[in-house]
Every structure is written in C-alpha cells, then in structure tokens.
Symmetry: C3
Subunit: 271 residues, 3 copies
Amino acid sequence: MSIGGPTPVTAHDIGNALRLLRENPPLVQCITNIVVAQWTANVLLAAGAAPAMVDNPREAGGFASIASGVLINLGTPYDDTALAMLKAVKSAGAAGVPWVLDPVAVGPLAWRTELAHHLLDTSPPHIIRGNASEILALAGGAGGRGVDTTDTAESAVDAADSLAREYSCVVAVSGEVDQLTDGVRRVRIHNGHPLMTQVTGVGCALGALMAGFSGVVDEALLAAAAATATLTVAADLAAAHCRGTGSFAVGLLDELTVLTPERLEELTRLS
Amino acid sequence: MSIGGPTPVTAHDIGNALRLLRENPPLVQCITNIVVAQWTANVLLAAGAAPAMVDNPREAGGFASIASGVLINLGTPYDDTALAMLKAVKSAGAAGVPWVLDPVAVGPLAWRTELAHHLLDTSPPHIIRGNASEILALAGGAGGRGVDTTDTAESAVDAADSLAREYSCVVAVSGEVDQLTDGVRRVRIHNGHPLMTQVTGVGCALGALMAGFSGVVDEALLAAAAATATLTVAADLAAAHCRGTGSFAVGLLDELTVLTPERLEELTRLS
Amino acid sequence: MSIGGPTPVTAHDIGNALRLLRENPPLVQCITNIVVAQWTANVLLAAGAAPAMVDNPREAGGFASIASGVLINLGTPYDDTALAMLKAVKSAGAAGVPWVLDPVAVGPLAWRTELAHHLLDTSPPHIIRGNASEILALAGGAGGRGVDTTDTAESAVDAADSLAREYSCVVAVSGEVDQLTDGVRRVRIHNGHPLMTQVTGVGCALGALMAGFSGVVDEALLAAAAATATLTVAADLAAAHCRGTGSFAVGLLDELTVLTPERLEELTRLS
C-alpha cells in the first residue's frame, strides 16, 4: 500500500519478490555474530531462504563466489572472522555476488569501524543496513553507545543519502519508520513494532534477509525494501498476539512461515 | 512398531534406551557450531542428557576422556576448534569413549572435507550422521551446495553401507525416511516431519543425541536408532500443534521433555 | 516477602532496584559463551537492560570502561576471548566499573580454573556467581563434572563466605534455595523452579542480570539479590503455564517483559 503518492518501489513489487524467493530459495552466506547466528538462520529458513554460515577464512572466500548473496555482520568480529569477511567480500565482488554490510556498533568501537571501511573499500556493497547511529558514524558523524541507536532514522537520512552515493549502493536505516535510499530515490516503510528492539538480532536478521532478496531480484532498492517489508509485516502480525518478548520472537518466525506474497503486498505500508 | 517384518533394532529396544538415558544422564561433550550450540544443548537437556560444550584445544582432549560420548560437528570450524576436535577424537579413542561425526557441508567445502577425513583416520567413530549429500561426499561421491541436501536418503544407502564398512561404524542418513546401517544390517525410521528442515540445527541436535545414547547403550546401531526415533517422534507430535517454524521448535523441546519411553516405543515406526 | 525475620536486603529494595533498571537501562558488556549469548542478550532485553556482546581483545578493554557493568562467563573460552576477558577486567577495575564472574565448569577443567584465578587477581570482582560445585572449586575444594553441580547450594555456603571475604565481593550460589553472601551478611532467596536447570544458560543469564543491576544500585549484595529475585520470580510464573522446557524458556522471557517492580516485591521470598 502506498501512503501519499507513487513510490520507487511498490507493494506489488515487494509481494512479487517474496514469491521469487520462495520459488527459488537463495543460498545466503552469513558471516555474522555468535549472538544471532541461530536466530538469523531461523529467520532466513522461515522466510524461505537457505542459510549457510560459512565464516572461517579458509572457506569463506570460495563459498562467497557460489552464494546467491553474502551478509557481513560486525556484531562480534574476531581476527579469524574479520579475515573471513575480507576474503568473502573480495570474492563476492569478483564473482558479481551481491553483499550486504551490517555495521553493528560501528562508531564507538574503533577496530570494527576501520574494518567496516576496509570492507567497503575492498568491494562496493549492494546494501548497507544499520540503525541511525551506525549510519551516521559510517558516514563520518557521531556514533551511539554500542548496538543501541541514540538517534532517529529520520535524522540519518541525509547521511544515508551521501553514503549511498559514495558507494553506489542502497542504504537502509532501521527505525520506527524505516528509511531506504539509493542516493536519489527514497522509500519509507511504516510497518514494524517497538518489540523488534527488545529481541536481539531482529535488525541482524533483516540484513540477512536483504542478502537473500538480493539473490532473487536485481534492484538493490527493491531487495532492501522487500526484506524490510517481509520482516516488519511479520512483526506487526506477531506483536498482535504475544505476551512478551519470548512469544513475540516465536510468533515472528511463525508469521514469516505462513506469510504469503498476497498478504505481504496487502499489509505493506510505503511512502 | 515394525513395518513389514523383524528389524535389527526394535521399538521396544528404543523405548528401553530412552529409559536408560533418563535414569543415568550421559555427559555429552559437544564441539559444535556457533549456530546451533544453544539449541543442541537444549535438545539434550529436554531429552534428559547433560550437555557440556567444551570446545577449546586446551581442554577438549582431557574432557573427552571423561565424557559419556563426544559429538564433533563441522558446521562452523575454525583453526582453534578444529584442533580441539582432533584432540577430543584422539582422547576419546584412547579412552574408549564413543564419538559421533556430523560432517556438515562436507563435499563442496574443501578444508572441512579434509578435516573430516583426518578425524576419521585419527580414531574410528561410533556413528557418522549426515544428510544424503554429505554421506555421498564423504564416501567419495558428489556433494551438495552447503548444508542443504540435494539428494534423497535412499540414494545414499549404498554409499552409507560402504562408509560403515570402511570405518566399522554406523552411518545414519537423515531424510524423509531415515536410513541407518552398520554395513550389514539396515534400519529405516519412518517418523519425522518436513518442518525439521526449516529449523536450523535439527540434524545437528540429532547427532548430539546419538552421542548421548552412545553413552548409555553399547550397540551403535541402537544408539543411532534411539536418537533418531526420539527426535522424529517428538517432531511428529510438535508438528501436529504448531503454526510455523517458531512454535514447531518450541513444541519439539516440549515434546522431548514429556516424551515417555512407553510412548516412544508406541509411536516409533521402523522397517 | 521476608521469611522468619529481618534480612540485609528487603523485597522492597529489590522492587526498587528493578524500577531503577527500567528507568535507566544499564549497558551490560557480556563476554560470554557461544551457547548462551543469544539467550543472555534476550534475558537482559526482556528485563529492561541493554546488552553489548563486545568480546574480542581489540575492543573489549576500551568498551569495559564505558559499560555500566561487565559480565565475564567462562563457558566456552578461547585464547582470543580469554585475552578479551583479561583486558576487560583490567579496564573495568581501573574505571570503577563493576564486573561479575561466572566461573562455568571451574574445577575439573584446569585451564579455565587458572584463568578464573588470574581474572580475580587482576581486579577484584563485584560479584561471583556459580553453582555449588563451581564455588567450592574456586574456594579450593573439590569440583563437579562440568557445568552440572553435584553439590547443594547449602553445602557451599561456608566456601562462599570465605571466597567473599578473600575478594571483598559478594558470592552467589545458585540452587534450590539461592545463597548470597558478602562474607558477613547472608541472603537466601526461595523462588525458582527445577525447570531452570533444564534450559541451558539460565544461570549464565543470572550472572548477566547481576552485572546489569550492579550498574544501577551501589550495593553488590542488593544487585545480586535483585537479579536473582527477578529471574527466579519470572521462572516461577513461567513454570506455572508451560508444557516443557521449550515453552518454559519462552514464558520466562515473557514474564520478565511484563514483570513490574510491585509484583516482584510481592512475590520475592527472602530469608
């Protein structure tokens, strides 16, 4: 559904993207953190994608060249996995495989901030997804206090635009209203629920879904929007029936499992 | 229950194995992957076993000699944990502690394929458990595309037989019908549900349960069958009441918690 | 509620501590194990705290100086994370940030036992939390067989007292009745349910909550008691409505989400 006029991506496009993902499950390589690895794999599986957590430096590079999409998440990097990330990004770049950066806690933490820039300079990403503080920090502004954001998505839109133009990629800022941009065109997604911030890894799983959708649709802006709509619409549905964060997380997987392309198109609220 | 004649392992044997596991909880050392470590521990606990995730090279060897059974799962190996695996397998071999290999994604990924062969050559395993693609690859055939199987369990039965004879162990091939063999005798288990493939780590947890049952019954074929029946019967029960993958996973743990040896015997379908 | 006379910490104090935690969410750095990282983060979030799993040696030290509290959990230490622990503890000590030690499986495993003593000698902890076997082992007695305790909490009270005096900290022994001591004063908490031992990481999450409460109340004995009461009261409530370990874990997060300071005060049973 469009709120207030035509958008560069439509709810119909998004429903179709989910249909494509279900018909031809993308193989999503995730080099992610120890906190959310299980949850990320389960979100991908529930949505219809095929996760593969190949995250050691001996195999990550080779695998990236045969994956449908690659997620690089900086939640808990170690020397070993940081090297795996660099190899995967290089290999994905060479093979034309889209990769997504989730710059968790970039800003206040110097090493991973350097690592993020090193990755971005190694091979341009398809999508960068973060909260407002992370996007502001990556674009050269001030950062938050770890994984929390202390800024609204709205406040990071200009930084997102400039980052998108710098790397010719899409930048997605998660927040109450999700803000997506390719540097020129913007999509806002109005679905989602505050409970998403009280379960660890919901944002991380969103990055993984973006890597998955990047393997089935060509346009990065559509891949980012389809992933965001899929997860936030499922969250809306789950939030309506939960008692707390435990049943919300379970319900989110359930709603992803049963979500149809038609229902996704119907419930997505864009502007 | 036996379908079509006597089987080398009976449903009654399997019920008894669960009774033994509950009466004397085996200490199961798991050197497994970052994706499924929590889930694996929770499956073991729900079934009645005692998990211990000792997976660093400084402690894994010593611990393996006092464990009831050892699981080696190749999901996310690193240099550090690969070394821990080798030490644990060596130590388990020397101490007569049964160990189980889960060769996750062996085949398309060269390093872990070498590692799997190195482990098998270090000390013969009690059980090898994988999907059809992994078993085919380990036996020298073609492989899949990561953790997914692109082959049916039936198609890997001959490869499983030859692998079982090569290492004098039991080989279990997971699939719609689970195929177990010690190289001479075969057991087929007809329980289980497609949802098991949409939750990450269900197969990994099966390997861990096999290590647990190996600590309470002498015969490897019975240990493998009891683990498979326990998990797949619980899955059948959970699948009957779930909405999607989230509630299926929760229900699987619940059904494992309340499953009795009598009910397991009654619901197990062998041939 | 007090059972049998005045206690050094009251249920009213505990309710107030939860109120403070909700009003000003502490940033809890967790250097914990791969098994429980997700669950720990989710317990902290459900209770109202802000987790940050910064556990690599390049960032852990710097981050510890800006955290509200630091958890060091020895569940699956590696060379890399062990170094991160040492740096975090040193930095927390220098910055006056309270840190909590969870000496998982200390005793039978030599390397981590040495590591635990090294950490304790680097900077005195605010709280040590373990099961009876771990506390007995840390105080110089015999140990258990891994993560399980083979001793009752009551049997470790004298060891806990001497450990508390040695490091001028609070020692909390988890068990059917939780025993907390600062070496002079003792608090016993009578809430909790056996299902807590059948879900992995409930004790680990308790340590994380203690680090969280340490960031909002000055007194270590109150922080340890408030964390214990919060988790065990939620467990009591969850246990009343679950079918097995799966729904118990989900319910525990739900109950933490909806638990109010008033209800916590009302249901806490101290002596």
